[in-house]
């Protein structure tokens, strides 16, 4: 009997450690689950470190960070050596997670209503939501670009806030850094490192 309990416990722990959370394959439900999960974290504590750590975990599971990395570097990717590409992907993930979590940790109790979804094609669905207004902040429309190429595992690729794409802004920012340094990709790496370490 003890042995059985031990085996059940062992496999339970194993399962939970392999994947913390299984998200819905329906894009609208997928976003609703993420929003609810993030909200629990943001409400639970005021500890910025805790929020950052937990939000990073969610982001790693639900955001296509590598896809966004390729999108952000755009046409400059073809100039990268294998080593540089490897370094870029590592730097980008750190940069992305820091940027992503710092945007959210200031919220203590965000109220987001997930409203609708629209299938663009077999690769993308846009999920519409609204961040409810507070005394200090106006209502904000947030659209989520969900990548659905693997229909069983949707992934977020962009946040479009009031019609302004964060991914596009980031792409143009990266391009500006490279262009203003005579196409030197190392200057982008330096800027990313500076951001990560600040």
């Amino acid at each position: 009997m003890k042995k059985k309990i031990f085996i059940i416990l062992f496999f339970s722990l194993f399962l939970f450690s392999v994947k913390g959370h299984t998200y819905s394959s329906d894009p609208k439900e997928f976003i609703t689950e993420i929003v609810n999960e993030a909200k629990i974290i943001l409400v639970k504590t005021n500890s910025k470190d805790f929020k950052t750590s937990k939000l990073s975990e969610i982001a790693k599971e639900t955001v296509d960070i590598e896809g966004i990395a390729y999108y952000s570097i755009g046409k400059y990717k073809k100039n990268l050596s294998e080593e540089q590409l490897k370094e870029y992907l590592i730097l980008f993930e750190k940069y992305f997670l820091k940027s992503f979590t710092s945007r959210l940790t200031d919220y203590s109790d965000p109220k987001i209503n997930v409203i609708s979804e629209k299938v663009i094609n077999n690769k993308y669905t846009i999920v519409e939501s609204v961040l409810i207004a507070t005394d200090k902040k106006p209502e904000v429309k947030i659209s989520w670009r969900v990548y659905t190429k693997n229909p069983d595992q949707p992934m977020i690729r962009d946040l479009i806030i009031e019609g302004l794409s964060l991914a596009r802004t980031q792409k143009e920012e990266f391009s500006s850094v490279i262009e203003n340094n005579n196409g030197d990709i190392n200057q982008l790496f330096a800027a990313l490192k500076k951001f990560i370490n600040k």
Binding site: G163, L164, S165, R168, E172
Partner: protein, 269 residues
């Protein structure tokens, strides 16, 4: 001299409003190739001016906006409604010029209801009657709707980010804004334009209040943008151009205005 300084300060607030006021508008974003291809007119100069404007914002406008936020919510809401109601007259002129007659009717209906029943626009009874607030329009957008090219991007001292088309639009707004035309007085007394009641100043006060109200609503958004940018100048440029494209396209949805071609490129690799 005092008048010049006073007007300049209010112009900065005005530009913040003009450049960014559409962030809550329900218009669409058309992120297309031509937008991303918008060239700089003179980037070095623009970056220097951008730094100057950024410094001014930190030293003057952000503290004002933060102070404004300490006022009671109802007072801020009423102020925001009044300036928004006055601003709708410029939108109305541009609705007509764009041939958006349904929108023009809605904008006019809202103005009449809110100015009368809503007591000079302090309250918004029009929304309760189903006339929801539409997007803001200006002459730069109207020229965009007419097919005028964006031109190149640059940053004006005090007035902030703009393009060739939008800079021309700023001048056009003066002629198209009924509030400016009503309050404007070209009479010269003692080498100063304006009548004894400083009627023209009322226009700048209203635009300044609009700028403060907008800045106050976006303190955290601006902080977050600043904190999370590796090149703030480039971020602001991208957001400005996306916002202008969105406004010109006049769509209530962001869904059908996204260009997927960039994403297709990475999927095909």
């Amino acid at each position: 001299m005092r008048k010049v300084i006073y007007t300049s300060i209010l112009m900065i607030l005005l530009q913040i409003s003009v450049a960014n006021a559409g962030s809550t508008d329900s218009e669409k974003l058309k992120v297309n190739k031509s937008q991303t291809a918008t060239n700089e007119c003179f980037e070095g100069f623009s970056r220097t001016v951008f730094k100057f404007n950024h410094g001014l914002d930190k030293a003057i406008f952000k503290p004002i906006a933060k102070g404004y936020r300490t006022l009671p919510v109802e007072l801020r809401k009423g102020t925001g409604n009044v300036v928004s109601n006055l601003r709708s007259l410029l939108t109305l002129s541009n609705n007509v010029l764009q041939g958006e007659f349904n929108e023009a009717g809605k904008t006019a209906g809202r103005f009449v209801l809110n100015t009368t029943v809503g007591v000079l626009g302090i309250w918004d009874p029009a929304a309760a009657l189903g006339l929801q607030k539409g997007g803001k329009e200006d002459f730069g957008q109207t020229m965009g709707v007419w097919g005028a090219e964006t031109g190149c991007y640059f940053v004006l001292p005090i007035l902030g980010p703009t393009t060739t088309r939008d800079a021309v639009g700023l001048v056009g707004n003066i002629f198209l804004d009924p509030v400016y035309q009503i309050t404007h007085d070209t009479e010269i007394r003692d080498n100063v334009a304006g009548n004894g009641n400083y009627a023209e100043h009322n226009f700048w006060i209203y635009r300044g209040a609009d700028g403060v109200d907008f800045r106050a609503k976006n303190v955290e958004s601006f902080d977050s943008l600043e904190e999370n940018s590796i090149d703030l100048y480039a971020s602001v440029k991208s957001l400005y151009l996306q916002d202008r494209s969105k406004k010109i396209s006049n769509s209530p949805s962001s869904i059908d205005t996204q260009n997927d071609s960039d994403w297709e490129e990475i999927d095909n690799k």
